[in-house]
């Protein structure tokens, strides 16, 4: 029987970028997993936590823990949301003095993986049978890079994609300027950071800019389409899920 894995879609993917979630599910199925979508799931609460609304986030964290604690493996197409689960959920529970919830959150966190981590470390492969004949540049999102330390896992996966041409992104490790509510509270600074990121993406000559986070891609993609460029943003899961048969 296939091993079971829970898809933690994240609220952003569920509501605005379902294709990234569908791709994650297809990819994991192809790798031999029975993918389940726990219906009560909504959000990790990161936006509330990072804006200072810890007490309000507690109910979101509780819902997340209750949605996923029955699963042995939980996979999300987001470095940022996995980082929140790992580094913030127990903190939020302790903020409302709920030690029991904190322990449960820690248990869920210990079984939660970002997509590239899961494929490379748990599935144990970098070859996922993908085909994507395009020029692609990879933006290492800050939280997957610095909080999860996924390092070169996404690149190792991309390098194995058939037909792909990976092009270098200048100052790749510099933040795109999204920062959740930062982009609303400091829109001008955020735009200035975005402008530099977009310039690097366009200079790379890529047709697609990919990343492991839909939030960063929403920001970069929103800017690129406002500039009427032809460069598209695409979640890492969507590239890895693409096959020759489908193209």
């Amino acid at each position: 029987m296939a091993k079971r894995v829970a898809l933690f879609a994240t609220c952003l993917v569920d509501s605005l970028f379902p294709e990234a979630g569908i791709a994650t599910a297809k990819l994991l199925s192809r790798l031999g997993y029975a993918v389940e979508f726990p219906s009560p799931q909504v959000c990790c609460g990161q936006m509330h936590i990072n804006t200072g609304y810890l007490a309000e986030a507690a109910a979101i964290v509780r819902n997340h823990v209750e949605s996923f604690e029955a699963y042995d493996a939980i996979v999300a197409p987001s470095g940022s949301c996995v980082a929140s689960v790992r580094h913030q959920h127990a903190l939020v529970a302790r903020h409302i003095s709920d030690e029991r919830l904190a322990r449960r959150a820690e248990a869920v966190a210990s079984r939660t993986w970002e997509l590239s981590e899961f494929i490379v470390d748990v599935v144990g492969t970098t070859e996922v049978g993908a085909y994507f004949p395009h020029r692609v540049t990879y933006h290492p999102s800050c939280h997957s890079l610095r909080l999860l330390k996924v390092a070169d896992r996404p690149m190792r996966l991309l390098e194995q994609v058939e037909g792909i041409r990976l092009v270098e992104l200048a100052s790749a490790e510099t933040c795109c300027g999204f920062g959740g509510t930062f982009s609303v509270k400091n829109p001008e600074v955020s735009s200035a950071m975005l402008a530099d990121k977009m310039a690097a993406v366009m200079a790379s000559g890529a047709e697609f800019c990919t990343a492991g986070d839909s939030s960063c891609l929403m920001h970069i993609g929103g800017g690129l389409s406002r500039l009427k460029t032809r460069v598209k943003t695409l979640h890492l899961a969507q590239i890895l899920a693409s096959t020759k048969e489908e193209s």
């Binding site: 879609a9 993918v35 389940e36 930062f182």
Partner: protein, 481 residues
């Protein structure tokens, strides 16, 4: 609470907006921070056990902070026993009053200064000017800032916002006797400053410094620097006054060895800084015959009492976090409104001055984490920023009127804590998506500012969970539905 030059008029977003409009500033900062970043990475890359060193640095500072009460008394005892005089200042005003009083008694009308963040923090130059005393900054970059009646915008490179042409103009306008022939070559500019400062060093009766560290077991103060101006100030005048934050004390002399492996590489990307001066009280017939230290609180004990915020007191003022910060790189130090800018400034300032005094600072970050990655004493700046944001929200919740942000965030939390509510709201998605295509909808407070430079995402016809409900192969939840 801390006071002095920890906060200015307005908030971060407003000051940042003005800074962004200055193309020259952005070019200067971009060039300078890129260079320093690359050099630092190379200098740190040479050290095989850098991560262990960082942990050791953090441990030393944490240990010092945990026993600060005893160590400060030890320091006072040792420093006094060798002829130094220890003064205690609760805040900027007390510190300035102590120094003005010492200077008035000495009869000095001029002092030379070693570059010092702490004296900037307390606004010492302004206080001295009020008392009719002239203070000469002798660090090259501080001199540039002082001559142009500017403010420092960086810990280490206070004139980082200036390029060499601007500096040439500042020197031509403000240093007597400099003609229009002055070039913009760094060596030539430095020579001009050197000859200007030489007379000040030789004439000064009193010098004022900060300190990079204080050692409890030996009663020693130390300053690290690159230009040798500090050594001149610390040795030539008759009297020396040092303003030192209480968090600078470490227990043992050997602890300095660890911090010295971390500081220069993080700060100037050097293996070792050119000049290190230490003094323990007075040494007869060698250096100043009268030595004072003003141990400054100015909000530090508030930070120390905060279980999360005390981590900020580990800071050794290296400025590595400023150089890697994508926000700092684009807006510069002045946008922070505090003498402590950048990521560490956005945490130190509110912990010292109180978060409500500088409430916009903790939000001046995308939480990208580049600062934490380079911090030589492993200060988890992003987590401290989130802690301060939570403190600000908790304060705002005490006010009778709820902010619009609070209303929106509470409503969202209610929706996001339950999948059924979430689904209901998501049905409105396609409708909201259509609305954002109209120009008038972009006037809405949140959507409007975001869509100025970014196309909003168009909500799909079906959410992921709708898709799931209509497809085989993606299983249902185990315990629900």
């Amino acid at each position: 609470m801390g006071e002095g030059l920890l906060f200015g008029e307005g908030d971060f977003p407003t000051r940042a907006r003005h800074a962004l409009a200055d193309g020259q500033l952005r070019a200067n900062l971009g060039a300078a921070t890129t260079t320093i970043r690359e050099r630092r990475a190379a200098a740190v890359g040479e050290v095989a056990d850098w991560e262990e060193l960082r942990s050791a640095g953090a441990r030393i500072k944490d240990g010092s902070l945990a026993a600060l009460d005893e160590m400060l008394v030890d320091f006072e005892e040792k420093f006094s026993a060798s002829g130094g005089v220890v003064h205690w200042a609760r805040d900027a005003q007390e510190a300035n009053a102590i120094i003005v009083d010492l200077l008035n008694r000495s009869g000095a009308a001029e002092v030379v200064k070693v570059k010092s963040m702490t004296t900037q923090e307390i606004g010492l130059n302004e206080a001295l000017a009020e008392a009719g005393i002239v203070a000469w900054e002798t660090d090259l970059a501080e001199l540039i800032v002082q001559l142009s009646a500017d403010r420092p915008s960086h810990f280490l490179v206070p004139a980082i916002h200036r390029n060499r042409d601007e500096i040439r103009h500042i020197f031509q306008d403000h240093i007597p006797g400099i003609g229009t022939g002055l070039g913009n070559d760094p060596a030539e500019l430095t020579a001009a400053a050197r000859s200007y400062l030489r007379d000040k060093f030789l004439a000064a009766e009193v010098a004022i410094s900060g300190a990079n560290f204080a050692v409890a077991e030996t009663g020693t103060l130390g300053v690290v620097e690159s230009e040798g101006n500090g050594r001149m100030c610390l040795t030539l005048p008759r009297m020396l006054i040092s303003v030192v934050g209480v968090e600078k004390v470490v227990p043992r002399w050997e602890d300095v060895g660890t911090l010295f492996q971390l500081l220069p590489r993080s700060s100037t990307a050097e293996r070792m800084n050119p000049y290190t001066s230490t003094w323990s009280g007075v040494t007869p017939s060698d250096g100043p015959s009268e030595v004072h230290v003003v141990l400054l609180d100015n909000g530090r004990t508030n930070a120390l009492a905060d279980p999360v915020g005390k981590e900020a007191l580990r800071c050794i003022r290296c400025s590595a976090c400023l150089n890697v910060c994508p926000v700092y790189e684009r807006v510069g130090g002045h946008a922070y409104g505090s003498v402590y800018p950048g990521p560490i400034g956005a945490v130190i300032t509110p912990y010292l001055a109180g978060v409500e005094t500088v409430a916009s600072l903790p939000f001046a970050s995308t939480l990208c984490g580049a600062c934490y990655e380079v911090c030589p004493v492993k200060i988890d700046i992003p987590s401290l920023l989130v802690d301060l944001r939570a403190k600000h929200v908790a304060e705002a919740n005490r006010k009778p009127l709820r902010s619009s942000e609070k209303v929106v965030m509470s409503a969202l939390a209610w929706v996001m804590a339950d999948a059924k509510r979430w689904q209901l709201v998501n049905r409105l998605g396609p409708l909201l998506g259509k609305l954002t295509r109209y120009r008038w909808a972009r006037l809405a407070p949140l959507i409007g500012r975001w869509t100025e430079n970014r196309e909003p995402p168009v909500p799909p016809a079906h959410t992921l969970r709708n898709w799931r409900n209509n497809h085989q192969g993606l299983g249902e939840g185990m315990r629900h539905e």
